[in-house]
């Protein structure tokens, strides 16, 4: 019997989620989690060669395949990281065994939600999937059951709900715009149909729809001023979830946004979505840049950096054109890999030090050379220094936008510098100087960190031609 790979990508996490909910024992659960993630990754990679036909509900195209593979890859590495991380949490008594079971099940359910959102060929289904992924992460953010964790989860939940509602309203409006052309019923929600027929949609409805979608999905992306849930959710949840949130969930929401952007771009009468995206992108960059300075919590620090990067990415997509879109895609990929690598390091560091307070850590390169230097490398990568890939994408963003919109590019550069100053300041304190805090060994899984950083490093000076081809195709698709 052959299962078509698209269903496999969805079924594997779903089935394993059910299994994980039933199976007791941390080791079995962690192992199954890793295996399931690895299987998903394998299937996702196979999609690169065998692309199934477009269905009414599911499909794979050039845009989604990039996201799916990235999603499954980071999902896999995070599951590896999570195995050692959760083990430590269990040992140190911060988590109870039944919660761990819950955690593993939710992890796969979340992966299911994200994969579904990426593979959906239906804007309704996509909405459902994004919300599913959001709700599972809400539950995971509150996993520790501390006051702060619950508060963060609650905040995430409320703001997320409003975002959900807004996104749904936007989806309905898109349907309304499509109905006269595409006919009633499911036909008018199928993405491939919509794209084909988009030029004849009512532009005004599309405009309003986009605003709602921008705000609805933008809440998930973490754009300022809709970001409020993001720092707390990153800071209070288990670190693997922080990594997944930054590395994946934001991307998924962004993916949804991009889908609709394409739709708008295809309609000649609609407003250009680009100025809105540029505006929100710049606002996010500037906002996050200044917010970075007063951070005392190491995970919240990098959460704000995620907001900053989402701002850059949205800015890049807003600048549009083949260059801007290419840069945006690259930046997004690099950010996923880098930020999750950083969170892996940070997670272990926080476990060693027993705290997330930056002031209680220091001299990591002295006390924990591997963690310290990977953190340094990660921060160097995330702020856009070569030889790492973020440099390439930021290079493209800035160089391509400066000739078109010099003033906006200047604002962006200013924001980048301010953010750089903050991150560098904290990183210097963390990695160098006198050793602070406990110096015990940690049972760390360095492999995911190295894998991510190695990929980002290679991407810094060489991008594989097939990847470039995809990106270029997607870039033209995005208009």
């Amino acid at each position: 019997m052959s299962i078509d790979p698209v269903s496999a990508i969805l079924l594997i996490p779903l089935v394993s989620a059910a299994l994980l909910a039933l199976l007791p024992g941390y080791r079995v659960g962690a192992a199954l989690n890793v295996v399931a993630s690895a299987l998903s990754l394998g299937v996702a990679v196979s999609l690169l060669w065998h692309r199934p036909a477009v269905g009414l509900y599911l499909m794979v195209d050039d845009l989604s395949i990039v996201f799916v593979v990235l999603n499954c890859f980071v999902g896999f590495t995070t599951s590896v990281f999570s195995a050692s991380y959760i083990g430590h949490e269990l040992d140190s008594g911060k988590l109870k065994p039944q919660l761990v079971r819950f955690y593993h099940a939710m992890y796969q359910l979340m992966m299911f939600g994200m994969n579904l959102a990426l593979l959906a060929n239906n804007i309704g289904l996509m909405w459902v999937a994004v919300e599913l992924a959001t709700l599972t992460t809400v539950l995971m953010v509150g996993l520790y059951r501390t006051a702060e964790a619950l508060e963060a989860a609650w905040k995430y939940f409320i703001l997320g709900s409003v975002g959900i509602a807004l996104a749904l309203f936007g989806t309905i409006l898109v349907y309304l715009a499509a109905r006269p052309v595409a006919g009633e019923g499911m036909e008018a929600m199928v993405w491939t149909h919509l794209l084909r027929l988009a030029p004849s949609f009512d532009p005004s409805l599309l405009n309003i729809a986009f605003i709602f979608l921008l705000l609805g999905y933008g809440t998930k992306v973490g754009l300022a001023p809709l970001h409020a849930w993001l720092p707390d959710a990153h800071a209070e949840g288990p670190t693997p979830i922080s990594a997944v949130l930054s590395g994946l969930l934001l991307n998924v929401a962004l993916y949804a946004l991009l889908r609709f952007k394409v739709l708008l771009a295809a309609n000649p009468g609609a407003i250009a979505p680009n100025p809105l995206m540029i505006g929100m992108g710049l606002l996010s960059v500037l906002f996050a840049a200044f917010m970075l300075y007063r951070r005392r919590d190491i995970k919240r620090l990098f959460a704000y950096s995620s907001i900053e990067h989402m701002g850059i990415i949205v800015f890049a997509f807003g600048m549009a054109g083949p260059l801007g879109n290419f840069a945006g895609l690259l930046q997004m990929t690099m950010h996923s890999l880098t930020k999750s690598a950083i969170f892996f390091s940070v997670g272990h560091v926080a476990q060693v030090k027993g705290t997330q307070r930056i002031a209680d850590m220091g001299g990591l390169t002295e006390s924990h050379p591997v963690l310290g230097w990977t953190l340094v490398a990660g921060v160097a990568a995330i702020v856009g220094l070569p030889p790492f890939g973020v440099f390439t994408s930021e290079f493209l963003v800035i160089s391509s936008s400066f000739s078109q919109q010099p003033l906006l590019a200047l604002v962006l550069v200013f924001g980048l510098l301010v953010a750089f100053g903050a991150l560098l300041l904290r990183m210097t304190g963390l990695a160098f100087g006198p050793v602070r805090g406990p110096v015990g060994r940690v049972r760390a899984s360095y492999l995911p960190i190295f894998a991510h950083l190695a990929l980002v490093l290679v991407a810094g000076f060489w991008l594989p031609p097939p990847l470039v081809k995809w990106f270029e195709h997607v870039a033209t698709l995005l208009g």
Partner: protein, 667 residues
């Protein structure tokens, strides 16, 4: 040949990896520094060959996919490659010995070759991506080297060297990126060849020029963007300091020359004025701060700022001549600037090696804790003296030759039609003269305080001469300083292809002149013969000594005259601080120097003390407010972290209303 040179970059990286692996063993040091030495020799040879060779290019399948990695080797890059080879080779040689005392080899060995790789890549790059890649790599790896000894750094309240450094370096990279963005235009022609062909409008040209000046200038250490330099250069291990001061700043100069002379169309005249103003101020301010500095390595770093100013004055004059169509003048000015860059690499590396040797021998950087080292470290002292004389622009050493050329360029006085240039030429002449004189004062003080007199601390008293590797490196550079000083014509002729490529003209062939005299325009106008001056001095000195010793009766040693207070403590010597006091009184107004003396009343038994407060004319009015502003905004905005969910919801709501309003208005 470009292929081999390009292969040097990955070879350096491999060395870096070797450094990671072998950091803990002695062999690691030998491997890394020995390997660097060999690779630097390759760079030197390849660079020298490229000076006269044809332009070579290759395109590699790296970097931005649709652009590729363009590499190019021409006379200009050849010259700077040779400079890297020279400076890097010297630093490697020095480090073979100096590195023995490194406490954290793991923090130095991997980054030293990476630093060299970054610089080499900048020079070889022929597209914006690779250029900036190398540029930032150079910054990042040198930052790591600056951070190597962070734990031994200064008080936590002072600006952190590594922090300020990388921030400014990134600022410089981003500024250059903007410049390239302008040059590339909307088409995204990131290869330099596209930029050369792309005829940009005057606005774009001027914009790109200003950005290039800021970007390259902040990496080179042009006032007011130099603040990182005196912090970062001394903080690194000394051979790295030498590399940063001696070579990295030259790479920045290269960036400026490449963009402004090669990629950009001729600019409006005020651009040249801008460079002249910045260069002149840099030269004087740099040396003034050097005079007031107590820390030997920081003093050297400030002196680097000064020399960068001199180089930029030369470049500014070349620009001024070029845009007025005076090619011969431009050739003279750019040759002077590049010659000075070359010289600075030689003597600043030498001086930093010397400072490193002293640091190793005494553990001190503060000159007030040294003294009398000429007795304990005679060879180092001798070489350091040569460096001091070279940097003070004293004949017959090389520093004088290039400053002399720069002065000749000032004196060309063509009929410059622009008032700004008319004004800036003589003013810069005066500023350079002032800088040269102050540099001499500065290095008399430095040498006198560190090497002469009596030891001020036990550490200085027990210093021992450093190892042979270090001495060889210092001796080599000292010899080169002398050679470049007495055969300046050879260097000038070697620079001719560069000047030809950048300005369309070259200086007359110098080696053809009799007795190796150099004459920039004509012998009747001005000429200088380092060889003759040197031999004159040497011969007359030897003759005099011989003659005098025939009639004289020999010498007798005795205690120095003590004014009747026997066994005066070493503290009673003239110190570095007291030495600068007259100059501080004359120029202190710029730094708002305040000396407050705490003199105990008669009968009190506590010690008197003098505290000196200095205002930094750049940091305090420029950087401190910026830092304060960012901090202020961050503080104000931090409130946003602690709002209620309702407030956050109202943000969402507000955004919705605003966007809908925008939409309504737009329709």
């Amino acid at each position: 040949m470009i292929g081999q040179l390009a292969a040097v970059v990955p070879a350096f990286i491999v060395l870096g990896v070797v450094g990671i692996v072998t950091a803990r063993v002695q062999a690691g040091r030998v491997l890394v520094y020995g390997g660097s030495l060999v690779l630097c020799a390759v760079l030197l040879g390849g660079g020298l060959a490229a000076l006269t060779g044809d332009i070579q290019r290759i395109v590699l399948p790296i970097g931005i996919p649709w652009v590729g990695g363009h590499l190019r080797l021409d006379a200009l890059s050849g010259f700077f490659l040779a400079l890297i080879g020279l400076g890097g080779g010297g630093a490697s040689l020095f480090a073979l010995g100096y590195g023995q005392s490194e406490h954290h080899p793991g923090r130095v060995l991997p980054f030293f070759p990476a630093f060299l790789a970054g610089m080499t890549l900048v020079i070889l790059a022929d597209d914006a991506f690779l250029f900036l890649f190398g540029w930032e790599l150079m910054s990042l790896s040198s930052w790591a080297l600056v951070m190597a000894h962070q734990d031994e750094a200064t008080a936590p309240s002072a600006p952190q060297p590594g922090y300020v450094y990388l921030l400014m370096a990134t600022f410089s990279g981003l500024t250059l990126l903007l410049a390239f963005g302008l040059l590339a235009g909307a088409g995204g022609g990131l290869a330099f060849d596209n930029m050369r062909l792309h005829a940009a409008g005057p606005g774009v040209t001027a914009g790109a020029f200003v950005l290039a000046l800021i970007g390259a200038g902040s990496k080179a250490g042009l006032v007011p963007l130099h603040v990182w330099l005196p912090l970062a250069h001394p903080a690194a291990p000394s051979h790295v300091s030498a590399l940063m001061s001696g070579v990295m700043t030259k790479v920045a100069v290269y960036g400026f020359v490449r963009i402004v002379f090669d990629l950009l169309a001729p600019q409006p005249w005020w651009t040249a004025t801008l460079v002249l103003v910045a260069g002149g101020i840099t030269a004087v301010l740099g040396v003034l701060q050097a005079v007031l500095e107590r820390d030997l390595k920081r003093l050297l770093a400030y002196s680097t700022v000064e020399n960068i100013g001199i180089i930029f004055v030369g470049l500014g004059m070349a620009l001024a001549f070029r845009l007025n169509g005076f090619a011969a003048g431009a050739a003279l000015a750019i040759t002077a600037a590049l010659f000075h860059a070359f010289n600075h690499t030689l003597f600043k590396s030498l001086l930093f090696f010397g400072a490193g040797a002293v640091l190793n021998a005494t553990g001190r950087r503060d000159m007030e804790t040294m003294g009398g080292l000429i007795h304990r470290m005679p060879v180092t002292a001798f070489f350091f003296l040569a460096g001091c004389m070279a940097v003070s622009a004293l004949p017959p050493l090389n520093g004088f030759a290039s400053e002399w050329l720069t002065f000749q360029a000032v004196l060309l006085r063509p009929q410059l039609p622009q008032w700004g240039l008319k004004l800036m030429f003589p003013v810069d002449g005066a500023l350079l003269a002032l800088a040269a004189a102050l540099a001499a004062a500065c290095f008399v003080r430095a040498y006198g305080a560190a090497f002469l007199g009596r030891p001020r601390t036990p550490a200085a008293e027990q210093a021992t001469e450093v190892d042979h590797w270090s001495l060889t490196a210092m001796g080599g550079f000292a010899l080169l300083c002398l050679l470049a000083g007495i055969f300046p014509g050879a260097v000038i002729d070697a620079l001719a292809p560069v000047s030809q490529a950048m300005t369309g003209a070259r200086m007359p062939v110098q080696l053809a002149d009799p007795w190796l005299t150099i004459a920039p325009i004509a012998a009747s106008r001005s000429s200088y013969n380092g060889l003759l001056v040197f031999s004159f001095i040497a011969v007359s000195m030897l003759l005099t000594i011989a003659a005098v010793h025939r009639v004289s009766r020999g010498i007798r040693r005795s205690p120095p005259w003590d004014c009747g207070f026997p066994q005066a403590a070493p503290d009673t010597q003239y110190s570095a601080t007291s030495f600068q006091q007259p100059i501080r009184r004359v120029f202190g107004v710029i730094f708002r120097v305040r000396d407050s003396v705490d003199m105990p009343a008669p009968g009190e038994r506590r010690a008197a003390s003098i505290t000196q407060r200095r205002w930094d004319p750049i940091w305090d009015p420029l950087y401190a407010p910026i830092a304060g502003l960012v901090s202020w905004i961050a503080e104000r905005m931090n409130v946003l972290q602690f709002l209620t969910i309702r407030s956050y919801l109202s943000f969402v709501f507000g955004a919705l209303v605003v966007l809908l309003l925008t939409l309504a208005l737009w329709q």
